[in-house]
C-alpha cells in the first residue's frame, strides 16, 4: 500500500476516524492491527520476521534492564546479532555470494558456483531493524526504560506511518506518546493534512515527473553526453530529495493528524554550505543514528586526528551499505566519508561569511559534490556510473541539452519552480511552522491549491518510493 495511492487515502481515513471514535485504552490495539494490515499489503508472510525480531528485542530489553555486569552485554549482543543476522540474510547474502563467485572465477578454481537465494527483500527492513536496534542500545545505555508492554513495544516498531521508510525513531521520542491520551485537535489535524498534501505534491508532481526525464536519460546513457547527463543528475538530486522527503512529510503528517509527533527527517539539504551541513539536514534520522550508535561507538573524534577520519569514512561506508547491497552504495558512502574527512581536515567551510555570493558559491560547490555521489547511487552498476561520468565530461556538443518530451519538460520545470518558491520563500524562513494552521483561509488555500496541482500535474502511475527498497 503506497502512500501515493487511493487505497492508502481510504485506509488512512478509516484508521484515523476509528482511532478517535474508540476509547484510549483500545487505541494501541487498533493502531497495531492497522499497522499489520498496512505491512501485509506488501508481502504478508514477512510480518513473521518482524514478529520474530520484535519478540527478541522486547525480551532482550527487559533482561538488559534487569541484569547486571557482563550479562547485560550478552543480552545486547544476542539482540544485535539477531537483528543484524536477519538483515544480513535477506539483504546481503546474495551480494556476498556474488562476490565469492566472482572471486572463484577470477582465481580460476574448478568449483561449482555458490547458489543465490531467490527471495524478495522484506520492505523497509533496514528501517525497522535500525529502529529496533536503537531501542535495545538505548536501554543498554540506560537512557530508556525497558518497555514491559509487548503491545506498545510492537507498536513502536510497527507504527504504520514510519514503518517502511522512516523516520528511524528513537524510543525516547515515541514510546511515551503511545501512552498519552490523544484528543482530537483541529489545529493538529489540519496541520497534519497540510503536511501530507505537501508531501504528496513533492512525490507525485515533482519527483515522479523528474523520474520520467531522469529514467529516459540514464537508461540510454550510452547515447547521451555532456550537459544532458549533468542536467539529468541535477534532476535526480531533486527527484530523490522530493521522493524521500515527500514520503517523510506524509508520514509526519499522518502521525500528526492523530496527535503523534515524529522527528523531522529533512531540512532543506540543498541549501547546505558544506557536506557536513548537508548530512545534518539530509535523512536526519539516519545520520543521527549513524553518529550516535556507530561513529561514537567507534571512538568518534576522541581518538586522535587520523582515527577520526577513519571513523568518519567507515561510518559513511557502512551508511552506504545500509542503503543497499552493491559496490555502488559502498562508493557512494566512501565519497561522502572522504568529503566529511576533508572538511574536518581543512576546516574550510567553518568560515562564516555574510557575503551572499560566497555563500552561494559554497552552496554551489556542495551541491555538485553531492551530485557526484548521486551518479553512483542512481547507476545500476559501477561500470555504468563510470560510463556516465566519462560521457558527462565529453566536450563534443557539450551544451546540447536533450529535452525529450517538451510537455514533460515543461511540467517538471513548473513543478520545480513551485518547489523552490515554497522551500526558499516559506519553509526556509519558517521551517515546519509553515504547516501550522494560521487561518482558515490559509489552510483551505493550501489544501485545495495543492490538491488541484496533484490532480492536474501528478503522475498517476508513478514509481514506488525509492527508499522502500531499503
Amino acid at each position: 500500500m503506497l502512500f501515493n495511492s487511493i487505497q492508502f487515502a481510504l485506509f488512512f481515513l478509516v484508521v484515523t476516524i476509528v482511532f478517535f471514535l474508540i476509547p484510549h485504552r483500545f487505541r494501541w490495539i487498533h493502531l497495531l492491527i492497522a499497522s499489520c494490515v498496512f505491512y501485509c499489503a506488501f508481502v504478508p508472510i514477512y510480518i513473521l520476521i518482524l514478529f520474530f525480531t520484535i519478540l527478541i528485542d522486547y525480551i532482550a530489553g527487559i533482561y538488559i534492564e534487569d541484569a547486571q555486569g557482563a550479562k547485560r552485554k550478552l543480552f545486547l549482543t544476542i539482540s544485535l546479532v539477531s537483528n543484524l543476522g536477519v538483515l544480513a540474510f535477506f539483504k546481503y547474502y546474495n551480494f556476498f555470494i556474488e562476490n565469492v563467485n566472482a572471486l572463484i572465477q577470477t582465481m580460476g578454481l574448478q568449483v561449482h558456483e555458490v547458489p543465490y537465494l531467490n527471495i524478495l527483500l522484506p520492505i523497509g527492513l533496514s528501517f525497522h531493524t535500525f529502529q529496533a536496534m536503537s531501542y535495545v542500545i538505548e536501554v543498554y545505555r540506560g537512557n530508556q526504560k525497558a518497555e514491559r508492554h509487548l503491545g506498545l513495544y510492537s507498536l513502536y516498531v510497527l507504527f504504520y506511518p514510519q514503518l517502511v521508510a522512516g523516520p528511524i525513531e528513537r524510543p525516547q521520542n515515541v514510546l511515551h506518546q503511545f501512552r498519552e491520551e490523544k484528543k482530537f485537535e483541529s489545529t493538529e489535524a489540519v496541520s497534519g493534512l497540510q503536511q501530507m498534501v505537501w508531501g504528496l505534491f513533492k512525490k507525485v508532481v515533482v519527483a515522479d515527473q523528474l523520474a520520467i526525464y531522469v529514467n529516459s536519460i540514464y537508461n540510454n546513457w550510452e547515447v547521451n553526453n555532456g550537459f544532458t547527463l549533468l542536467f539529468a543528475t541535477y534532476c535526480f538530486a531533486f527527484q530523490i530529495y522530493c521522493d524521500f522527503s515527500g514520503y517523510s512529510d506524509i508520514a509526519l503528517g499522518a502521525a500528526r493528524v492523530m496527535g503523534y509527533r515524529l522527528m523531522t527527517n529533512f531540512s532543506l539539504p540543498y541549501f547546505s554550505k558544506s557536506v557536513t551541513e548537508f548530512w545534518r539536514r539530509w535523512h536526519m534520522s539516519l545520520s543521527s543514528w549513524l553518529k550516535d550508535y556507530l561513529y561514537i561507538s567507534l571512538g568518534g573524534n576522541r581518538v586522535g586526528k587520523w582515527k577520526t577520519y577513519r571513523n568518519l569514512i567507515l561510518t559513511m561506508v557502512l551508511g552506504g551499505l545500509w542503503h543497499g547491497a552493491s559496490w555502488n552504495f559502498v562508493i557512494w558512502g566512501f565519497l561522502n566519508g572522504i568529503y566529511l574527512s576533508t572538511e574536518k581536515l581543512m576546516g574550510t567551510f567553518k568560515v562564516q561569511t555574510t557575503s551572499f555570493l560566497l555563500r552561494l558559491g559554497q552552496v554551489f560547490v556542495t551541491f555538485h559534490l553531492i551530485c557526484l555521489t548521486w551518479v553512483f547511487f542512481r547507476a545500476n552498476s559501477f561500470k555504468q556510473a563510470i560510463g556516465i561520468l566519462t560521457n558527462m565530461v565529453q566536450p563534443i556538443q557539450f551544451w546540447n541539452l536533450r529535452i525529450q518530451d517538451t510537455g514533460i519538460f515543461a511540467g517538471m520545470t513548473f513543478a520545480f519552480a513551485i518547489l523552490i518558491f515554497v522551500e526558499f520563500f516559506l519553509i526556509r524562513k519558517q521551517g515546519e511552522a509553515i504547516f501550522n494552521m494560521r487561518s482558515m483561509a490559509w489552510s483551505v488555500t493550501w489544501l485545495v491549491g495543492f490538491a488541484l496541482l496533484i490532480i492536474l500535474f501528478g503522475v498517476s502511475d508513478g514509481d514506488q518510493f525509492i527508499y522502500f527498497q531499503f
Partner: protein, 312 residues
C-alpha cells in the same frame, strides 16, 4: 472538531467547484486546439470537411519519416510520437465513431512491441475521451482498480498535459493550422556524428513469444478497419546499420498478418540501400531527418502502389 469540520467542508466544496470550473475551461481550450500531440492533431483530422483517402498512423518513426505528399492520393499523417498499438486502436475507435474512417490506413508497427512487455499505459493519452468513447473508457478503467475514482475529477482528463494544451491552444489561435500532419526533422551538420554516436546503444533483443494482449490490440484494429471497408497495410521503418534477424516470434507475427491478408512491408528486413550506412540521412539510430524521410517515403509509396496493383 467544529473548526476542522468547517475547514474540511469548505475545502471539499471549493475543490469540487474549482475542479468543475477548470474542467470546463480546459474543455473549451481542448475543443479549439487544432495542433500538437495532446489532442490537437486528432481534433484537426476529425474536423476536416473531407476525410483524406489515405491515413498514416504510428509512432515517431512514421511521424517524422512519412511525408504524405509522396503518395498518389490525398494523405494525412496522423502519427503520434511514442505511442504504441493500444493508442492507435483507441484513436481508430474514435475515428470510427465520428465516421472519419479513410479508405486506406498505412499503419506503422514495431515488431518488438508485439513480442515483449505490455504497453497499455499509452491509452492515458486519450483520457479526454473517457466516458465519451466506450472502448477507450474500458481500457482506461482497467489500468488500475481506482482509475474510475480518479475520473470523478473533471480535471483529471487533462492530467499531465495542461501546459502543452495551453501552448497548443495559443499556437492554434495565433496561426490557423493547415497541414498534412507530417513533422520534418531538418538536417543539421551534427546528424552524422549523433547517429554514429548512437550506435553505442545496444538494441534490445526481440523476445521469441507473442504478447497476446498486444496482438489483440492490432487484431482489433484490423477487424474494425475491415468492418468499415478500410484497407490496412502495415509497415516498419528501418533502423540505421541494422538488419533484423528472424526469430519464431517475428515469424509468428508475419504469419498472423498474412493469415488476415494484411500486407506487411518490413524495412528492417527489406533494406533500403539508399538509407543504409549513410549517417547524414539520420537524426539518430531510429529516426531519419527530412532528407532521409523523403527517400523512405518515396520507397514506401512505390511499394504501396505495387501492393494495391496486385489483384486481391
Amino acid at each position: 472538531m467544529r473548526k476542522f469540520s468547517l475547514i474540511f467542508l469548505v475545502s471539499v466544496v471549493l475543490l469540487i467547484v474549482c475542479d468543475r470550473s477548470l474542467g470546463l475551461l480546459f474543455d473549451y481550450f481542448y475543443k479549439h486546439t487544432k495542433t500538437g500531440q495532446t489532442g490537437g492533431k486528432i481534433n484537426y483530422y476529425l474536423s476536416l470537411p473531407k476525410t483524406p483517402e489515405w491515413v498514416v498512423m504510428g509512432n515517431s518513426r512514421a511521424l517524422y519519416q512519412i511525408i504524405p505528399d509522396s503518395f498518389a492520393r490525398p494523405t494525412y499523417n496522423l502519427c503520434h510520437a511514442g505511442m504504441h498499438q493500444i493508442f492507435q486502436t483507441g484513436l481508430l475507435t474514435e475515428m470510427e465513431k465520428q465516421g472519419k474512417m479513410p479508405p486506406l490506413i498505412l499503419l506503422h508497427i514495431e515488431p518488438g512491441e508485439f513480442l515483449g512487455e505490455q504497453f497499455n499505459r499509452d491509452i492515458q493519452n486519450l483520457k479526454y475521451y473517457h466516458s465519451k468513447n466506450e472502448w477507450i473508457t474500458r481500457e482506461l478503467n482497467v489500468l488500475s482498480s481506482y482509475e474510475q475514482v480518479k475520473f470523478l475529477f473533471a480535471c483529471y482528463r487533462y492530467n499531465g498535459r495542461v501546459i502543452s494544451l495551453m501552448k497548443n491552444y495559443i499556437q492554434t489561435m495565433r496561426a490557423p493550422y493547415a497541414s498534412n500532419g507530417y513533422m520534418a526533422i531538418e538536417p543539421t551538420f551534427t546528424d552524422s556524428a549523433t547517429t554514429i554516436y548512437s550506435l553505442q546503444q545496444k538494441l534490445p533483443v526481440a523476445a521469441e513469444n507473442m504478447n497476446e494482449q498486444q496482438w489483440n490490440y492490432l487484431n482489433e484494429f484490423i477487424a474494425r478497419c475491415r468492418k468499415n471497408g478500410t484497407q490496412v497495410i502495415c509497415f516498419t521503418s528501418p533502423i540505421y546499420s541494422y538488419h533484423q534477424k528472424s526469430n519464431p516470434g517475428i515469424q509468428e507475427l508475419e504469419s498472423r498478418l498474412q493469415k488476415l491478408q494484411v500486407p506487411y512491408i518490413n524495412y528492417l528486413k527489406k533494406d533500403i540501400p539508399a538509407l543504409q550506412l549513410k549517417a547524414s540521412l539520420w537524426k539518430d539510430r531510429h529516426h531519419l531527418n527530412h532528407t532521409g524521410a523523403q527517400i523512405e517515403s518515396s520507397v514506401l509509396a512505390k511499394d504501396v502502389d505495387e501492393i494495391l496493383r496486385q489483384p486481391h
